[in-house]
């Protein structure tokens, strides 16, 4: 494959991914509203379009047409840039995620991921994909910290400081919980981690790799990283008005919102890739004959089913659990999750050393 073809395919993939992702984010918002409404025994949005399906369109139009207020003494460059930083970083982390195997169209082999680098002859997956995603999580604190400070309002500043402290505390547990998976896969590349889980459902890291503790640590740390219930103290209306995005209106607020839901999608994708076999079907090793046409689509289908399930769990937890108090939140991150993740690393490496 030549450089020109690589660039063309990359541009097509980026455009497609952006379109699908932003539409999906809008409809995840609708899904959240309807699912939580059903859990609270009410309907949710039903008026706009059949079953409220055009509600995201109405919301988008509202956000674009709303008045864009900038507070008087806000530090303008950072005030405008902070939501953009948040959104850009969450989109970059999604671009690193492989969505399936390779597609063979004609004589082109196209891996289903947006970020792959072009060696002289072909396309290769990034060797350190997981580490880059962790790095983006680390740098993502700036979107929150700078937005609260630049709004020049005490609620925003307090909310952003709390949110940043929460984010950097749970990053540690997040990173350490993934080390067990890395020990099994032997590589930081996401595609190789998924390939190491091929075979059958028992090879998945959650079941056969016994990484269920690591999975729960990861899920809890990820809920804290995305500021979702039960860790959403920085955004709770009863606590800090709206935390770091108090002073934002219209499109900037929409960008924060989109960034949060894109982060949710990234967390769901990572959970499937690292713990649940990625795009491998759970019926894989059972010897069921499948037609070839299904083999081309099945990775995407199973991947999206799993992501949908994890996002549903996100929304389910939001509708069910109360939120942590701030000191409970920090104590939980440092005094419980961190020692538990280190213990998981020790036990996993012990078991692996005994096996070989």
């Amino acid at each position: 494959m030549s450089l020109i073809e690589y660039i063309i395919f990359a541009v097509i993939k980026i455009a497609l991914l952006l379109f699908i992702l932003l539409t999906a984010v809008a409809y995840i918002v609708l899904m959240e509203r309807k699912v939580i409404a059903r859990m609270q025994n009410r309907w949710g949005p039903t008026r706009v379009g059949p079953f409220g399906l055009l509600q995201p369109l109405a919301d988008g139009i509202k956000f674009i047409l709303k008045e864009d207020i900038i507070p008087d003494n806000a530090y303008k460059p950072l005030y405008v840039a902070a939501p953009m930083i948040a959104l850009i970083l969450s989109l970059i982390s999604i671009s690193l995620i492989p969505f399936g195997g390779q597609w063979h169209i004609g004589h082109y082999h196209i891996p289903l991921e947006t970020t792959a680098f072009w060696t002289g002859t072909g396309i290769q997956d990034i060797n350190i994909g997981l580490l880059i995603i962790l790095g983006i999580t680390s740098v993502g604190v700036y979107g929150v910290a700078l937005s609260g400070w630049s709004s020049n309002s005490k609620y925003s500043l307090l909310g952003s400081l709390r949110a940043s402290a929460q984010l950097i505390s749970y990053e540690v547990a997040l990173g350490l919980s993934l080390v067990g998976v890395l020990l099994f896969a032997g590589s930081l590349s996401l595609r190789q981690i998924v390939d190491s889980q091929s075979g059958s459902i028992l090879h998945w890291n959650f079941f056969g790799g016994f990484q269920f503790i690591a999975f729960f640590i990861y899920i809890m740390a990820a809920y804290a990283e995305t500021n979702r219930i039960p860790f959403d103290l920085p955004e709770a209306e009863t606590e800090l008005v709206a935390g770091y995005h108090t002073e934002y209106s219209a499109m900037k607020f929409a960008m924060f919102f989109m960034a949060e839901y894109c982060n949710m999608v990234t967390v769901a994708c990572l959970a499937t890739l690292l713990f649940f076999g990625g795009w491998h079907s759970p019926l894989e090793g059972l010897g069921i004959p499948v037609p070839d046409i299904w083999l081309a689509v099945s990775p995407l289908f199973w991947f999206f089913i799993k992501i949908f399930f994890f996002i549903f769990v996100y929304i389910w937890v939001r509708g069910t659990l109360p939120r942590f108090r701030y000191d409970q939140l920090m104590a939980f991150g440092w005094k419980f999750l961190l020692p538990l993740s280190i213990a998981n690393i020790v036990v996993t490496s012990f078991v692996l050393a005994l096996r070989s």
């Binding site: 060797n127 350190i128 740098v139 910290a145 500043l157 940043s164 990053e171 032997g186």
Partner: protein, 166 residues
Amino acid sequence: MLHTILFLIFAGVCVAGALNFLLQHHPVNSALSLIVVMGSLALLFLMLGAEFVAAVQVIVYAGAVMVLFVFVIMLLNAGVEARSGGSKVAVVLGVPGLIIFFGLMYWILSAPRSQLENVQIGDFYVPTQDLGIALFREFLLPFEVTSVLVLIAIMGAVVLARRERP
């Protein structure tokens, strides 16, 4: 050739960020310029092929150390710096320092071409596994000593931030 061009671009960004860091009046702008410097250093590492070091540079420096800098600036509500009237010491030490610096640069850059453009992109590529093995076999003692150092720093921070009991 490609390596030289990319190096000049990223090193230019790095130096521009560093100069901006010195010349800005508001501490937050300086902190952001320093983040740009850290990022461009990570890119330079990546160009040499040290991918793990590049990622860790972003995670540790740009993602943790600079976050703490920004925290401090936000908490102390540091505003625009007051302008001082200039300092004699800066001129007395600075002008000869600059002359020496540029002299050194000229001397280094006037070396024959073959000595300068020896590096290709990805020359120092090390798979993460080999890095880990080297770190825990040959360099185990420095690794343990560094972790003790970090532990001392943590203990110092805890002691300094402790509230006095009445």
